[in-house]
Amino acid sequence: METSVLDRIDAAALRYADKVAFKDSERSLTFGEFDRLTKAVGTRLAELVPAGSPVAVMSGRHVYTPACFLGAVRAGCFYAPMDGDMPKKRLNQILSVIKAPVMLVDRAHLEAAQELDFDGELVIAEELFDSPADAELLGEHASALTCFSPLYVIFTSGSTGAPKGVITSHLSLMTYIDSVAKVLDIGEDDVLGNQSPLDYIAAIRDIYLPLSFGAQTYIIPKSEFAAPTVLFDTLNREKITALCWSVAGVELPAKLGGFETGKPEYLKKLCFSGSVISSKYLRVWQDALPDVLYVNQYGPTEATASCTYYVVRDKVNDDTVLPIGKPYDNYRILLLNDDDSPTPCGETGQICVGGPAVTLGYYGNAEATAKAYVQNPLNPNFRELIYKTGDLGSYNENGELMFHGRMDRQVKHLGHRIELGEIEETAKGIEGITDCCALYYKEKELLYLFYTGEATKKDITLYFRANMPAFMVPRKTVQLEKLPALPNGKTDMQALKSMF
């Protein structure tokens, strides 16, 4: 059995030394070069910090970023990816949780990194690439790893106003990657087209499928997603065979009419996740590319990206509600009622996940971890952790899992997970906002902020743009005399929804 993902990089470097692993619009890295880079970066990090340390990585959308991530792992450490384009405040929040003694940064983000509240060692990635590897030192550090060791910490929205860092082990990652590869039948001939930001959970497929199975990943420039003809040209030029995209990303070219002028000729498989796909746009893909394997995935970051999948067998129509299907290999799903009793077949209960892909909890946050990661209430005999997703589900007559939304106020917007409570906490920090309520208009994919107070729409947008990731900026802000209230004094959200 493998100890860590390092075993996979070593094996790939031997087997596919001269084959391209990662490519972007300007450069490419073979598996051999990738391996060498991780060792060069890892050696320097191992000189700086002990094994088991968190390493913050702020690096752009290019082939060197995965090498920086795995360089941290070579040093026996784990990485916390940070999107340098995010506002300073957000990045500082992440740093205050992860408390990394060292940050690896590419030159393009050096200036931004220097402005952050970071008192650890700032290391410029490009300066390490040509340094020699110290095999002995790396061996010592890697020997600290077991498959339970953390591999990365990825941050996601938290309802109290601070992001939560989900810690994932080598074992969880490898469990998921092997299971998804089996369903998508990923092999060395596949070329993946990366859409997800590299710091985001959805990118783990694009990073680890190549390292595990000798496939290649092409990192698509962000701007091309606004230009479907350019995007499809790229997919065809790079002969891309597999896409693991957010639903938002899959819908974009269909929305913008991309299929009127062309299509991705080499595509064989498309898997999507992050939110419920619109049948209308999935049908556009199916009509243009009837032979592609379409896979609907479901799952939270806490269960290592995705825990169930459904292979779309038939063409969808407007009424189709796609199941989220069945668990991946090595995943266990159970449905529980509010009182922790098992949900009877056919009824709706909370989706809970068990098995080795359940992650290690929220970094430095024992309280939030204890709430969501609990002993399986149906098992009184031995320790069995499950993760309570907060999502509702039921089984249909074919034994397939159906998704029924959230139990709380978490929403999925443009592929990202957002706690409406975090939007409100942020808005309350703006001078001139007395009270507010954030809501999501799902049909139009618009984030609304209803508020009372003197603040102008411009004040609010500017504040959000300066402090929050772009996907968390309310597109519509509505100023009210007072927020409608229910008899118990709580905000009447239904009344607000009628103002969409």
Partner: protein, 75 residues
Amino acid sequence: MEELMQILEELRPDVDFENETSLIDGGVLDSFDVVALVGELNDAFDIEIKPNHLIPANFNSAKAIMALVEELQDE
């Protein structure tokens, strides 16, 4: 032009549309901004922006967007 500036200002009040000339290439507008913008432009100017118009050169500045709108209005 005034109507266009109003739409842009409404969409992204944080961007200096008067002077910015690399809205797409510079990553100022992301793909979701573009989707929202295309919808607004189609409605406001009664035009139909097609996928082959969606190239960076047509959206890099307010001036370029205006030129595209005018070209489509003439059709």
